[in-house]
């Protein structure tokens, strides 16, 4: 799902955020998380595979830089919780979930790259709840492109991006992609 | 008023008489009146004319090993449907095996079959009587009674005569009338539970196999018993190269033995069952390429005297089951001639040898009266069009059953007309053309 196989043709994409803006957003989100939760106590970060995992790790490091605390980090794979299994053209691949801390004791900040219909977040919430009963779950996303299909909103947003429903938005992170940034397809499709 | 039939424009082919030339043939009242140069009988204006141009005109073909299933299994085949299917396969005569219900082990059943076949309007039907009562292999069937009623040979086909002493007695008893015992050769202890050939493939597919040895062991036994008794043994559906070798040697040694094989044994090998295709399940099972080679060599040099179809109709339900549970046997009457001619086209057999294997040499196995194209012979005639080609489909099939692995195969060389006693019993128009 990381977009291998299809060459990224830069000329048909408009850059909405560059690497520096991405980094600044992450820094700001880290500050907001600490502020909102009055420090890092009882806090944990869970990234949604694949790019949410990378973003989550960056938030964890930022928080360490700011506050000096090491926040527990987990990864959730939503494949087994998707509501469209058996409908897509692709064969879903289960990649595994790893939550190496007690969910019950923590306030969890769920991290993903793009917030769109909200269905991924719904699936991730269900996955986390199978591990226990967190004190609270908050949501951090790098960008929110609207068009929600479920009553879900983000607590921390890097950038709001107005889009058409059919438009493609891509988040590239240097761990996965050549050039870091957020892009929107010029054709609107 | 006499009835006349003129077969015009074909090639008269009678290998037993060394005849192979263009010519016409005239039959009067069911007897061959004369053969002559093309056009020789054009003045016979009142004769029914069959156009044989481009076709072979042969003495009537005989299939000495078929199962017509009546009495007892009329949903699989009847004497009528079988006799008509035979005619459509180019055969003027068939010999039907006794594994009916009741078994052909008394004169009443023989008479029943002969009566039914008279009415069928297809090929002639010659019953084969049981060797043992109810085919149980325990005591002899009344062979003389059966012979007098019209049985042409004796067999427990479907089963071997497992009791060697009984087999010996049958051979000795049969010498009274010079009877032939047609034997299904299978050591049932070695073949127990089989559904295919025993080989690397059967192990891979997890199917119980019948080793070639199960057949060869019994062929060997009956060669010894034929030598011991001086009785006549005919080996049914030989499927192994070693079986051919054993028979070749036995003939040299003076044993009174003859042998047949069926077309599927030299057309298909065991790989036909790889996908658990029950339409390729039969007894003997399909063997290997080296067996095909041995069978064709044996057929070419006459070790294998004749080709017979082992036509074994089964209803679809008995084949639409797991491979191990499926019935044994396939159809053959309409596929035998084209499959034989396929081997002629490939050069494995001469045309003369191929035709002899379903005419004179086949009749000789059971000591039947010969049919020829000469004046005075009964006018049983097969007209075969060697160029007629079809993709064999259910629409061509006249049997009541449809258990054939050859559906979908291109068949070339089909009957155009079949004539029994001067009367046309099959015309391909509308079926193959």
């Amino acid at each position: 799902m990381s977009g291998e196989g299809k060459k990224f043709d830069r000329s048909v994409w408009t850059e909405l955020m560059d690497a520096e803006q991405v980094d600044r957003s992450i820094t700001r989100i880290a500050h907001e998380i600490l502020e909102n939760n009055k420090g890092g106590k009882k806090l944990a970060i869970v990234g949604i595979r694949t790019r949410g995992e990378t973003l989550g790790q960056r938030i964890v490091s930022k928080i360490k830089e700011i506050d000096g605390v090491e926040i527990p980090f987990g990864v959730v794979d939503i494949t087994l919780y998707r509501d469209d299994l058996g409908q897509g053209a692709d064969q879903p691949v289960v990649q595994g979930t790893s939550i190496p801390f007690h969910v019950d004791d923590h306030k969890i900040v769920l991290v993903d790259d793009v917030l769109f219909t909200g269905r991924t977040i719904r699936a991730a919430l269900d996955a986390i709840i199978d591990f226990g009963r967190p004190q609270a779950v908050q949501l951090a996303v790098l960008c929110d492109r609207g068009h929600r299909e479920l009553p879900i909103r983000a607590d921390y947003v890097g950038k709001n991006i107005p889009t058409e429903r059919e438009q493609f938005v891509r988040v590239h992170l240097e761990d996965h992609d050549e050039e870091e940034g957020v892009f929107i397809h010029k054709s609107g499709k | 008023m006499s009835s006349k039939l003129l077969i015009k424009g074909g090639t008269l082919l009678d290998p037993a008489k060394g005849l192979n030339e263009k010519g016409d043939l005239l039959s009067v009242d069911g007897i061959i009146e004369a053969t002559g140069k093309p056009g020789a009988f054009d003045s016979e204006s009142e004769a029914e004319v069959l156009d044989a141009s481009g076709a072979l005109v042969s003495p009537g073909l005989i299939d000495i090993h078929v199962h017509l299933r009546e009495p007892g299994f009329e949903w699989k085949e009847t004497i009528e449907s079988g006799a008509r299917t035979a005619a459509a396969g180019g055969f003027t005569s068939v010999c039907c095996m006794p594994n009916t219900n009741p078994v052909i082990d008394n004169a009443q059943v023989v008479e029943f079959i002969l009566e039914k076949s008279e009415l069928a309007g297809g090929a002639r039907v010659h019953p084969i009587g049981a060797i043992s009562e109810k085919l149980k292999g325990e005591c002899l069937a009344p062979m003389v009674e059966l012979w007098e009623a019209g049985c042409v040979a004796f067999s427990d086909d479907g089963w071997p005569v497992w009791n060697s002493a009984l087999m010996r007695c049958a051979l000795e008893y049969g010498k009274m009338m010079n009877l032939v015992l047609a034997c299904h050769e299978e050591d049932t202890a070695l073949s127990h539970g089989f559904s295919m050939n025993e080989s690397e493939l059967s192990v891979e597919l997890g199917l119980k196999g019948m080793p070639a040895a199960a057949e060869n062991v019994m062929i060997s036994r009956d060669i010894e018993l034929a030598l011991l008794t001086g009785g006549r043994v005919h080996f049914c559906h030989v499927s192994t190269a070693r079986g051919v070798e054993l028979i070749r040697r036995a003939k040299k040694d003076g044993a009174k033995v003859t042998a047949e094989t069926a077309p599927h044994y030299f057309i298909l090998d065991e790989t036909a069952v790889t996908e658990y295709d029950t339409s390729a399940k039969m007894s003997m099972p399909l063997r290997k390429q080296e067996d095909i080679k041995g069978l064709l060599e044996g057929l070419a040099d006459g070790t294998i005297d004749c080709v017979a179809s082992d036509h074994a109709p089964h209803e679809e339900d008995s084949k639409r089951v797991a491979f191990g549970d499926a019935s044994l046997g396939i159809l053959g009457l309409q596929t035998t001639v084209p499959l034989l001619l396929e081997k002629v086209r490939e050069g494995a057999l001469s045309l003369e040898r191929a035709i002899a294997s379903v005419t004179s040499d086949a009749r000789a196995c059971y000591g039947l009266e010969q049919v020829s194209l000469e004046k005075g012979s009964v006018a049983d005639i097969s007209v075969i069009d060697p160029d007629c080609k079809i993709t064999f489909g259910k629409e061509h099939n006249l049997s009541l059953s449809s258990n054939s692995p050859f559906f979908g195969r291109e068949l070339q060389g089909l009957a155009r007309y079949t004539v029994v006693a001067g009367r046309k019993v099959f015309d391909s128009e509308g079926l193959y053309s």
Binding site: L80, G86, G88, A89, V93, A127 | V203, G206, G324
Partner: protein, 328 residues
């Protein structure tokens, strides 16, 4: 990754990549099975029918548990309780089952090829072979492979010896197909009546001698020995078999000191395998059972969610699909 898989009728026909993808997926399900809540909603609303025409406790339970942990509705259909005992044909039984619209049929049958027959007649349902006659038992081979890979880290170029009745083992056939994909050396060890030379056609070697059969093996697998006194002519007695072929710690120490030991199915202690081996550190017999559930979850998940599996019209609910598309 995967080319589409409609049925799992055997290991034969699968590619190495498909096997590896199934094993990778199974590894993830092993983790799911270790959670407090051992259940995921992946197959919610899907129906799985277990059609077992042959007695089986382990395999049926394993499939049932796998289906339930994926939140599928699982129905068990046993031959003894069904109409097959009243003479209904296999195809008719299958068509009846199909009319209940199951997504996956898991099937065990005493006839080789029976699962293929059913699959050919059920165009809308995926069929999983849970053992057909002496032909194949693919999920058992997958779980053996998973067990080996988790212990040894790889499947490539291993030496695996199977001791016992190969002739009447569908497990060994599936295992040979699978192990040969990875270039493994496969030896079958038993008297020549049971380790028949025809197995060489599948790429296995046969040895009547225990020493030559297991020498240097990375894995020794014990196959079931069935013997009915005076009915079975393949071996004289289990006593003689045991004397020649029982997997004992002494034999393993001498011939295959580093091997791990597996046994699909119930074992006969002291005859097939000695207690010191079965209960010792080499044995992974219990782990096999545990991994069996994970492997079957991976198989059911793959077939029930595969691109080939019919699904609802997705046009109205394309959220995640598009979200995925976002990233492409």
């Amino acid at each position: 990754m995967n080319s589409e898989l409609k049925h799992l009728l055997g290991i034969k026909g699968l590619g190495k990549e498909q096997v590896l993808a199934l094993l990778d997926s199974a590894d993830q399900f092993v983790d799911v099975n270790k959670r407090a809540v051992k259940k995921v909603p992946a197959l919610r609303g899907k129906t799985i029918v277990n059609m077992f025409f042959e007695a089986s406790t382990r395999t049926r339970m394993s499939f049932e548990l796998a289906g339930k942990r994926l939140s599928a509705d699982v129905i068990n259909f046993g031959a003894s309780s069904s109409s097959t005992s009243k003479g209904e044909s296999l195809i008719d039984t299958a068509l009846t089952i199909q009319s209940m619209s199951p997504d996956v049929v898991v099937m065990r049958h005493p006839a080789s090829g029976a699962c293929k027959l059913v699959a050919d007649h059920l165009p809308e349902t995926s069929v999983v072979n849970a053992g057909d006659g002496l032909h194949e038992h693919p999920t058992q081979a997958l779980l053996d492979a998973l067990c080996i890979r988790r212990k040894l880290g790889t499947l490539e170029n291993l030496s695996v010896s199977f001791v016992g009745d190969a002739l009447r083992s569908r497990v060994v056939r599936s295992n040979i197909y699978l192990l040969k994909l990875f270039g493994c050396r496969v030896r079958l060890v038993a008297p020549p009546t049971l380790a028949v030379t025809e197995f060489e056609g599948m790429g296995a070697e046969v040895f009547p001698d225990m020493k030559r059969g297991i020498e240097g093996a990375d894995v020794v697998v014990s196959l079931r020995m069935k013997h009915e006194y005076q009915k079975d002519i393949y071996i004289p007695s289990l006593e003689e078999y045991s004397r020649l072929y029982c997997i004992t710690e002494d034999r393993l120490r001498d011939y295959a000191p580093d091997c791990m030991v597996l046994a699909p199915g119930p074992i006969i202690r002291g005859t097939e395998i000695a207690s010191d081996v079965a209960d010792g550190p080499r044995s992974h017999i219990e782990e096999q059972v545990e991994l069996g559930v994970a492997v079957r979850m991976a198989v059911l998940f793959l077939l029930a969610t595969g691109a080939d599996n019919k699904g609802r019209d997705s046009s109205s609910e394309s959220g995640i699909k598009e979200l995925v598309a976002n990233e492409q």
